[in-house]
Symmetry: C2
Subunit: 386 residues, 2 copies
């Protein structure tokens, strides 16, 4: 194998593939990137057996075909220190890779591709297209409420499903739930898959640097999901399990609806959290008239109280509720619009947060019922556990 | 106690004092900041019994005298979330502190100043003045080579001493040494103190935000050192011990002198470190003619070679030497001028690095003698151990 290429261009293409390459693993062969050159197409592959990523670039000038496995982190370190210059890369019959650039000369021991796992292929006739910007939006609004509790595997990912032309991304950890809807052009088949957190998180990082108007093709089978765009392809396994039937526990109707400023509410919640952190994260909201009182107190530390303005759209009377301030802050930080709606019945049933200019997003948070935060009691009130 | 003040102004003044306040300690009283208000002077004190910091601000509008101890981190968290507004602070007879700002109301439990350690005072007639910019320079060039080895207490700080009007800051960990000189206006007494790393490091952070032309007064006694500027005062204990006599081991004359570009040498050393990291950090320099060859190799990983241009000022013949690449990188990152001199005799004696436009700075690095890095052997060659 022999080719030359701009070091930064190559580093960028490899950086994407490196997201599927583990740093340390019980199978050291997976720490390599597979590099294959064929008729000017340089194909880069990473695979940790959970997700696999392929990315290709064109080599414009003369090159010699071949393939090699090279330690991904070392190669990326070298390219990052080559100052945007042309690098000549060649691999000899002993799988020694030479990288030359001006006065710099690296010789790196590599290996043949023998024993490297086959890249998975996905056969399905279910697929849909979504813009990069839309996919970013769908992931951003749901990834933060994925459960990290390894004993609940079916919550360790984002549910991707459709109802007719409506595409849904949903995640929950049992204490809160995020739901983002996006309407597709047209879709023929029904689908329902749970994509692991890791795949969604790495995909999210990769698409941050892509042009927002590009189209990503998503394919789904019974066991795998893939995301493809130009010469980029990611395949991930999906989680085998049933996602909780959240529709059952969401309130069909809500008596009280308020609107308020996201920024003002967020800033007040951040102040409350200074005290609440020392008191099991409990923060209390008291809705009354056109005021929302926010309270926190911690024994031995002190108290916090603040009033912010709200507008009541429906309902009457006082509503008192206690939340986990961390879940509240995460919700408020992930809402983008200036104003949002709070819909609720009373302090013992789910509260729904709906951004006003992001109509397709809903965040549901369970109140804390007891005077003090008691995880076992809260558990009983989970809105979404199957 | 009662006063009002801009929250950001207060936060900035307290942030400086907080550098002497530990997060967690076996003496919880030290986690407090002492706040004393007297005739419009608000004096803030932090003290971890190793370093003490005082800082005062003027309260311009009406105020009531008093004093209180308040948890420093909590108070700073609150001020940082008050969005640059006026905050009214009052402390009642039960030592409850009320902080009010617009619709925000914090009540924080505090305590009386009883039992808080007396702020140390320093009686001495030895002092000198130095500009903020000069002090920054003196600390920056020496702090990175202070030894972190707790069994060698006498190396755990920066030596501050004078020879006539020449002020010296010196630090070493036994493997390399940094020496920075600054000429003072006039000084009558001799001094020689080792100031602990922690005091120098916190002082360094504090003076980064001060005006470069302001004058810092440094006072020295047998047991303490203080740094004062306007209403700011830091007092630190000094390390009881003898700093090694480094002059004895520095080469009086060097046969070979080279000049080279700092940036080019640094970039090459960074590339070498990619390989050297897997090989006990050993990097080899081969000086020959107008070229410096830089080499690294690691079994099972590969090799690196690069040539950079140098200018020979004196000496002849080849010089071969091996360095610890981490010590080399730290030196090259802390030199500011574009060009620097390397002065040496052979690969077994100390190498001196001297920036060309920073004539008063010298970095000395001991070569690694063995084929492979063997700490015990290197130990024997330490230039500076007493």
């Amino acid at each position: 194998m022999k080719f030359s290429c701009n070091s930064q261009f190559l580093q960028k293409a490899m950086g994407i593939v490196d997201k599927a390459i583990p740093v340390r693993t019980s199978m050291p062969i997976l720490e390599n990137m597979l590099i294959e050159l064929n008729s000017g197409e340089l194909k880069l592959t990473g695979n940790d057996l959970e997700i696999g990523i392929q990315n290709s670039i064109r080599i414009e000038n003369e090159s010699t075909n071949g393939s090699v496995l090279v330690k991904s982190k070392i190669l990326l370190s070298i390219l990052s220190k080559l100052q945007n210059q042309t690098v000549q890369i060649s691999v000899d019959e002993n799988n020694s890779m030479s990288l030359k650039s001006e006065n710099v000369d690296f010789d790196i021991l590599c290996s043949s591709k023998e024993g490297y796992p086959e890249f998975p292929s996905l056969s399905t006739d279910i697929s849909f297209d979504v813009k990069v910007s839309e996919l970013r939006d769908l992931i951003k609004h749901t990834i933060f409420s994925v459960s990290m509790d390894e004993t609940k595997q079916f919550l360790n990912g984002i549910l991707i499903k459709n109802e007719g032309n409506d595409l849904f991304f949903v995640s929950t950890d049992g204490y809160r739930l995020s739901l983002k809807k996006h309407t597709l052009e047209s879709i023929e088949k029904e689908f329902y898959v749970i994509v692991p957190y890791k795949a969604m998180n790495e995909l999210n990082k990769i698409i941050q640097v892509l042009e927002p108007d590009k189209i990503v093709q998503v394919k789904l089978s019974d066991t795998q999901v893939s995301f493809a765009l130009d010469s980029f392809l990611m395949i991930s396994r999906i989680i085998n399990g049933k996602f909780p039937d959240y529709n059952q526990v969401l309130p069909k109707q809500t008596e009280n609806i308020f609107t308020l400023s996201r920024r003002i509410c967020l800033e007040a919640a951040e102040r409350a959290s200074i005290i609440a952190t020392s008191s099991n994260n409990v923060v209390r909201f008291i809705f009354e008239g056109d005021k929302l009182g926010i309270k926190a107190n911690a024994i031995g530390l002190g108290e916090f109280y603040e009033e912010i303005a709200i507008t009541r759209i429906s309902g009457e009377g006082e509503v008192r509720v206690a939340f986990d301030v961390k879940l509240l802050l995460e919700a408020l930080r992930n809402i983008e619009s200036d104003e949002f709606k709070i819909k609720c019945n009373d302090g013992a049933t789910p509260f729904m947060f709906e951004p006003i200019s992001e109509g397709d997003y809903m965040y549901v948070i369970m109140p804390i019922r007891a005077n003090e935060f008691q995880p076992t009691q809260v558990q009983k009130e989970q809105p979404v556990t199957a």
